[in-house]
């Protein structure tokens, strides 16, 4: 299943012109506020009229269809549960109204989102996180061919966010429909994205697989220095027998972490911010850092700021590190050079660890 979009919307001075193809999996739409992310999602769902263009969902042209015939599940920033129905009523409403095609079974959705204890409750008696979970379940039960999640976690505090993210990861693993996910939170993006579309001022400036975009120096101006970094996809190995530290194997080596909630055999994604990597020209000795990787520089990118983004390859994984202009000059960094990267085991952003 996939989603092909060619959307042109003009509202006064603002123009949205985006061509996007979203395959199965999560496509994160990332950009500053006001760049047209929400307008794009609303256009896909039929909530915003399109001046011209094409919206093809799962092979059928939906451009002229009204919202209720598009089979686009939409999760808004706020849950929008129907206040006159309880949780079960809200879920059943979606099932009754939903298109009777390929619907996920009720029990499956309940189990996926752990909604069972909430079924008898009224919407006003739910916490923000619970309500958003119910709203997600409701969207799934309407048998969507595509899901639009419009900053679904933005109204939740940090702690609640971390409790919802695993549900979204599980959803991503279980479903084969395209999911468009709008956010301006880099950690969320790194955790969930299979693909990334970077937007600015109504246009998509860069798009591609998440690992490639996040470690692309050219993407740094749009991602922001803090969001840029490496996403390592690996597998949890047996803990180190002598130290007891967690070990993750990936294409390019092994990563050692102080602790990990996931058990052996799990696939895992870890984000390393570009600014948390230290570079050395020679193999360092006598360091406290546990993770030292050898790689070859593939790209050097100096922006307007004082930093230089250095992309290097270790095995099949592209890393991104940020050093100062001064260091880059002193170290005489150049493309093709062999380099050693030092990553502190405690530098991992726990929000960036996902499945």
């Amino acid at each position: 299943m996939s989603l092909d979009l060619d959307i042109h919307v003009r509202r006064g001075r603002f123009t949205l012109e985006v061509q996007v193809t979203a395959p199965a999996g999560v496509t994160v739409i990332f950009g500053p506020s006001g760049c047209g992310k929400t307008t794009l999602l609303r256009a896909v769902a039929g909530l915003e009229p399109v001046d011209h263009g094409k919206i093809v969902i799962d092979g059928s042209d939906m451009t002229e269809q009204p919202a209720h015939r598009r089979a686009v599940g939409y999760l808004f920033q706020e849950p929008r549960l129907l206040p006159h129905l309880n949780v079960l009523g809200n879920l059943k409403f979606a099932q009754r109204m939903g298109r009777q095609v390929r619907g996920q079974s009720f029990d499956e959705v309940i189990a996926l989102l752990e909604l069972d204890p909430l079924l008898g409750r009224a919407p006003f008696a739910l916490s923000g996180g619970e309500a958003q979970r119910v709203a997600l379940g409701r969207a799934l039960l309407s048998a969507p061919k595509c899901l639009c999640l419009d900053e679904p976690l933005s109204a939740l505090d940090q702690g609640l966010k971390h409790r919802i993210l695993p549900y979204l990861e599980r959803l991503r693993a279980r479903t084969d429909i395209p999911i468009l996910y709008v956010t301006h939170d880099a950690a969320e993006m790194a955790r969930l994205a299979n693909h990334i579309v970077l937007m600015q001022a109504g246009r998509s400036v860069l798009s591609g697989p998440a690992e490639a975009i996040l470690s692309d120096p050219a993407a740094v101006p749009y991602l922001g220095v803090r969001a840029a970094g490496t996403v390592i996809s690996g597998q949890v190995m047996a803990p180190d027998p002598t130290t007891g530290l967690a070990v993750i194997g990936f294409d390019g080596g092994q990563l050692i972490l102080p602790e990990l909630s996931q058990t052996k055999g799990h696939n895992i994604r870890i984000r390393i911010p570009a600014q948390d990597i230290v570079l050395a020209r020679e193999k360092p000795r006598g360091l406290s850092a546990l993770n030292v990787f050898e790689g070859a520089i593939t790209q050097l990118h100096s922006g307007q700021g004082p930093g230089v983004m250095v992309q290097f390859q270790t095995g099949g994984t592209l890393f991104l590190a940020r050093v100062t202009q001064y260091s880059a000059q002193k170290m005489e960094l150049a493309v093709g050079q062999t380099i050693f990267a030092i990553v502190k085991a405690t530098a991992f952003d726990p929000a960036g660890i996902g499945t």
Partner: protein
Amino acid sequence: MSWFSVSPVELDALRLSLWVALVAVALSLPLAVAMAYVLARCRFWGHGLLNALVHLPLVLPPVVTGYLLLVVFGRKGALGPVLEALGMQLAFTSAGAALAAAVMAFPLIVRAIRLALEAVDPRLEEAAGTLGASPIKVFAFVTLPLMLPGLVAGAVVGFAKALGEFGATITFVSNIPGETQTLASAIYAVLQVPGQEAAVGRMIVLSLLLSFGALLLSEILARKMVRR
């Protein structure tokens, strides 16, 4: 005749009042929902004019409304021939009394429903649409249940207004015992004759009971809805 024995004429007036009020509310309610929807949700040229037209019976002297009803629905009125062809007569009949009461109650019912409708969050309707509900289903399963308290309030206010309607009724359908004489016009008729204090008192007690009952019923309904 003791003070408490209600005469057949008074009983007729009571029965007619109830019938007129119920029919008036039943007639206006669906139309009022449609009108409230149009006024609250649609923007078009002449919106203000339509709004004023709906509210006219509220501000016009009831006698004028009654007279206008005669002009339109009377036997020699604009629609007289049409009604005659249909075998209907409204002027000086109980059906006409219900029409007069409905016209007078209409603006009040529309106002109550419109307020409730404007309080319904359109974002909920939008969400229901993305779940696959067509606009008709959205109205039936989201908008209507959410504005139900306003609907009940409108019906009760309309019922009360129809029960007490006097000016337009007496102008349009006169004051014929057993046919168009409601409690209000019966009280008026009795007041014209000296020495009928007992009859007046009885009917006033009846009116009080009726109005009080209606209020009580609306209160119970409102509580039930809040509990849901």
